[in-house]
């Protein structure tokens, strides 16, 4: 009983931030055992998420003033169902990628990878726990810089090129965001989201701040047409890094977008025009990203463009939140998680294929379905979720969005979502089709470790199983103030 009380009272949220920071430091100090240290940290993070989840289930949403100093003076941490789901996704996907990375990276690269990855993990966790917009800026900046560093990890010309573009985009976005924060702070003298939300008014400064913050986060999330930096960066980074970027990093900026939109800017955005614009960009992203994915001849670029398309689905929540808000909201939360699982599985299997054949040309995949069956299965199962075919998490997410769209007779969105699904099937089965047939020129193949194969496959299986976990996910998501706010608008 005492154990349980201690467990309940433990500041798991603080642990979630400090643990990976300590991990980063120790990986840096002891490069010889950085793999083991990183893996342990990653696993411990998962446990800390479980602890936090337990607290949330018992007591509802959670606030923690660091050092006893609350807002507006000190830093506060905040966690509700949405943050918990993001943290859980980060923990699980991060752990799988950590396991994968233990064998993927050779020692020379590993000593650079692990400390930066731990920094990135700390930034992600801190971001999902932040209660104020300035803290969000700090974590966003740390996240962006570690992501760029990871992209440039191999130092190849292609990777440096991609990383450079990424760096410019992310710095520009951070500055824009900071400008928006400054405007809000100047107007209201606070950066705490709840405090700000109480006093926000539609002044021109606030509108400017909203515009700056929105553009910045759209750039970071790579919403069409601000996606230009994503394919070269995600396509050229090492596979586990691409998986981190596509699965988690862009979701972090979208998470901030979602948070600010439905709490802070909620009174302002009953404005149809902005939501319509976001919906339009989302639709354009779905169509453009899918068509570009279909045109690619290299696997990693195909997957990267698929991310551009899938990001489009997330932005459909804005035009759909007007009525049936909670359905659209649940749908988008579902899509975030299932895309994280499926896309990381996909990038990891692409990494396996690259490792195996030394290339990622789709047309030369050369019977991998027979020679690398676990990886082929991982790609196919992840593909099922990306296409939104049942049973999978992707299907549940799309079904909910379709349901919300149908209740508002938004046939335009329905048609785009369905076309997006069909195009996704086209580009995914294009890859699968080639895995059955022999290539014209046979390649020397390198054996791929079971660890790498299984971590990809388990992520993909998780994306499928998510299709049966609606009840628990919904329960967790229900620990939230936002749903109530959005539900009240019904």
């Amino acid at each position: 009983m005492e154990m349980q009380n201690a467990f309940m009272a433990f500041p798991w949220a603080v642990v979630l931030i400090l643990l990976p920071l300590a991990g980063a430091l120790s990986c840096f100090l002891f490069p010889r055992i950085c793999r083991t240290l990183g893996l342990i940290t990653s696993f411990a993070t998962v446990i800390a998420v479980v602890g936090l989840g337990w607290q949330l289930l018992e007591h509802g949403s959670y606030r923690h003033a660091i050092g006893g100093w609350g807002a507006p003076l000190g830093i506060e941490l905040y966690a509700d169902g949405l943050s918990l789901l993001m943290l859980a996704t980060t923990g699980l996907v991060g752990f799988a990628i950590s396991v994968y990375s233990t064998t993927y990276f050779k020692a020379a690269v590993a000593i650079k990878f692990w400390p930066i990855w731990m920094c990135l993990l700390a930034a992600l966790n801190a971001l999902f726990l932040s209660a104020d917009i300035f803290n969000l800026y700090v974590t966003l900046e740390l996240l962006g810089l570690s992501a760029v560093a990871l992209t440039a990890l191999t130092g190849s010309k292609e990777a440096l090129n991609g990383a450079m573009r990424y760096l410019l985009a992310t710095l520009l976005a951070s500055l824009t965001y900071l400008l928006g924060v400054a405007l809000l702070y100047h107007s209201f003298g606070s950066v705490d989201i709840t405090l700000l939300a109480k006093q926000i008014q539609a002044t021109s400064a606030v509108w400017a701040a909203l515009g700056l913050i929105a553009v910045s986060l759209m750039l970071k999330t790579a919403l069409f047409p601000l996606h230009f930096w994503l394919p070269p960066a995600h396509g050229s980074a090492p596979a586990p890094v691409s998986a981190l970027l596509s699965a988690l990093v862009i979701k972090a900026s979208f998470y901030i977008f979602l948070r600010l939109w439905f709490t802070l800017f909620d009174p302002l955005i009953d404005n149809e025009a902005i939501n319509t614009l976001l919906g339009l960009l989302g639709c354009a992203a779905i169509l453009w990203g899918s068509i570009q994915a279909l045109r690619q001849t290299r696997l990693k670029l195909l997957i990267a463009y698929s991310t551009v398309a899938q990001v489009g689905y997330l932005f459909l929540v804005f035009p759909l939140s007007a009525s049936m808000g909670s359905v659209a909201w649940n749908g988008v939360a579902y899509l975030i998680i299932s895309h994280a699982l499926a896309k990381s599985a996909m990038f990891l299997s692409a990494g396996n294929l690259l490792f195996f054949g030394g290339h990622d040309r789709i047309a030369d995949l050369d019977r991998v379905v027979q020679r690398l069956p676990l990886t082929a299965a991982a790609f196919a199962l992840a593909g099922v979720s990306i296409m939104g075919i049942p049973p999978s998490g992707g299907f549940i997410g799309k079904w909910l969005l379709l349901e919300a769209a149908m209740s508002q007779s938004r046939w335009d969105l329905i048609v785009v979502m369905i076309i997006g699904g069909v195009l996704a099937a086209a580009y995914i089965f294009k890859v699968i089709g080639y895995t059955f047939s022999p290539a014209e020129v046979a390649h020397e193949a390198q054996p791929v470790s079971a660890t790498m194969q299984w971590s990809a496959l388990l992520l993909a299986i998780a994306a499928i199983l998510l299709g049966f976990l609606y009840v628990p996910i919904l329960t967790l998501l229900g620990i939230s103030d936002i749903i109530i706010a959005s539900g009240a608008r019904l």
Binding site: Q370, L402, E403, M406, G421, V422, A426, F429, S437
Partner: protein, 499 residues
């Protein structure tokens, strides 16, 4: 009665688990693979036997798992689902035996049998689905499980065929999805209910309902190969013969036809659909498909392609029986689900035997083959006569009920369709039989294999003989309590036209 809640799930698992295990088996582990396959098939058969007895005595089997808010994954066993499950289970067993013989020593057998089991799982799931969303789930799973079988050989031609198959089925699935969501947002329910669940809907929604009906039937029509959605089927012949046999007799085309039965009877309700005026167009489309498929079959020289067009034609009998409406035509349509399956699988087994034993693929090469392979061709003959509708083979029973039902409902034009189709069936099957039995033997066969003093391997010969015997029995022993016809009558009374 808690046990009954899990039986439907067990039925699914009896093919899913062996399938998943088979994937992990090494290629040369033939014995374990055969054991797993047969164990799964026999376990399923035992469960089916139990359920047949139970359902006959009015027991209720249902599994429910939460899937979405207010929408469960429902697996329910009723007379109609049991008809389809029984067919799939028996034919799975037979086809597995056939495939073991057919694929002897060919590569990638673990993969093949793994997907084969998944395919059966999806088919049984389609049969068990108790609401439209569960149906959709298994319907899509079927697409995913059959694709690897179609491109199994890994040639460029197979890859192209697979691509076209997906183009049709994925688009069909997408339309089905739109229709399902639309229906759900309109009614808030997707549960299959005897006589449908739409009778309370206000008249202002009728145009939307017609739209939904069109979307659902188009989505299902792709797999049921209704013209003009049939283009994938002749191309899918690239797959190995056991796959074609299963695809044509049970799995894919029947899933589509079965879905049409579900939509008309358990979603819209047959009277409601008739009132909506959507059944007439469906009947015309089915009739057109019947004639068109037969006409195209006439001009195919490739045996498997001729059989493929014959399938397009024959499966539409089911849709026709449904669309004519009325208890008698329905019995004809529903029972044809089984009859066509038995006859068509026989024909495909025989075609596979000719290809494997003698290298015969074209009809022009079949001269005198009846003397070289008398048993195979005897089975083929039974299947062919059944297709033509000659008594006492099963096909005659279906046509008799279809015709009678049409006359009862004052739709005399259907008789001409049935007669025309029988004539055309005769026109494309009798020449084959004539060649096989009465033309002189050629000097040599294209690619002959010898199997001692037998005409072909046991595993290849036994399955068509068994299915041919069943087709004959289904026509001869119609009055026995568990014959397909009696069961179809039971379905009609209990599910569709209950007092």
């Amino acid at each position: 009665m808690n046990w009954n809640d899990w039986i439907p799930l067990l039925v699914l698992m009896s093919s899913l688990l062996p399938g998943l295990l088979i994937f992990s088996l090494a290629e040369e582990n033939v014995q374990t693979r055969v054991m797993l396959n047969l164990f799964g098939a026999l376990a399923k058969l035992a469960l089916v036997g139990l359920m047949l007895w139970g359902v006959y005595h009015g027991h209720h089997y249902e599994t429910r798992l939460p899937l979405l808010p207010n929408l469960d994954l429902v697996l329910r066993v009723g007379p109609l689902s049991l008809l389809f499950i029984t067919l799939s289970t028996i034919l799975w067993l037979v086809t597995t035996v056939y495939a073991i013989g057919y694929l002897e020593d060919s590569p990638h057998r673990s993969r093949f049998f793994g997907f084969f089991s998944l395919c059966v799982t999806a088919t049984v799931g389609v049969a068990l689905a108790g609401n439209l969303i569960s149906f959709l789930l298994f319907y899509e799973l079927l697409t995913l499980a059959t694709y690897p079988l179609i491109i199994h050989r890994g040639t460029e031609e197979a890859r192209q065929a697979g691509k076209i198959y997906l183009r049709y089925t994925i688009s069909g699935g997408a339309l089905l999805l739109i229709g399902t969501v639309w229906l759900y947002s309109l009614t808030g329910s997707l549960e299959f209910t005897p006589k449908g669940f739409l009778f309370n809907i206000g008249e202002q929604h009728y145009p939307a309902l017609i739209g939904i009906f069109a979307l659902l039937i188009t989505g299902l029509g792709v797999k049921a190969a209704l013209v003009p959605l049939h283009g994938w089927l002749p191309l899918a012949m690239i797959a190995p013969a056991p796959v074609s046999a299963l695809l044509h007799a049970v799995a894919v085309v029947k899933a589509g036809a079965f879905g049409i039965i579900r939509v008309v009877y358990d979603v819209f309700g047959v009277e409601f659909s008739a009132g909506l005026g959507v059944l007439k167009p469906l009947a015309w489309l089915a009739a057109f498909t019947i004639i068109y498929g037969s006409l195209r079959a006439l001009f195919q020289n490739d045996l498997k392609r001729r059989l493929a067009y014959s399938t397009i034609s024959q499966v539409s009998y089911i849709a026709l029986g449904v669309a004519i409406a009325g208890p008698i035509a329905t019995i004809g349509g529903v029972v044809h689900l089984v009859h066509q399956g038995l006859m068509k699988i026989t024909l495909f087994f025989c075609a596979g035997n000719l290809a494997e034993t003698l290298g015969i693929h074209k009809i022009s090469e079949m001269n005198g083959v009846g003397r070289r392979m008398p048993w195979t061709m005897a089975a083929f003959t039974i299947g062919a006569f059944g297709m033509i509708g000659a008594p006492p083979i099963a096909g005659f029973i279906s046509k008799w009920y279809l015709g009678l039902g049409a006359l009862n409902n004052d739709q005399n034009w259907v008789i001409f369709v049935l007669a025309g189709s029988s004539l055309l069936n005769a026109a494309y099957f009798l020449p084959i039989l004539h060649r096989a039995w009465f033309m002189p033997l050629p000097e040599s066969w294209p690619d002959e294999h010898h199997f001692g003093n037998k005409e072909t391997a046991w595993a290849l010969l036994l399955p068509p003989l068994v299915t041919a015997a069943m087709a004959l029995a289904a026509g001869l022993l119609v009055t026995l309590p568990f014959s397909p016809l009696e069961w179809a009558k039971l379905i009609s009374v209990r599910e569709f036209y209950q007092p």
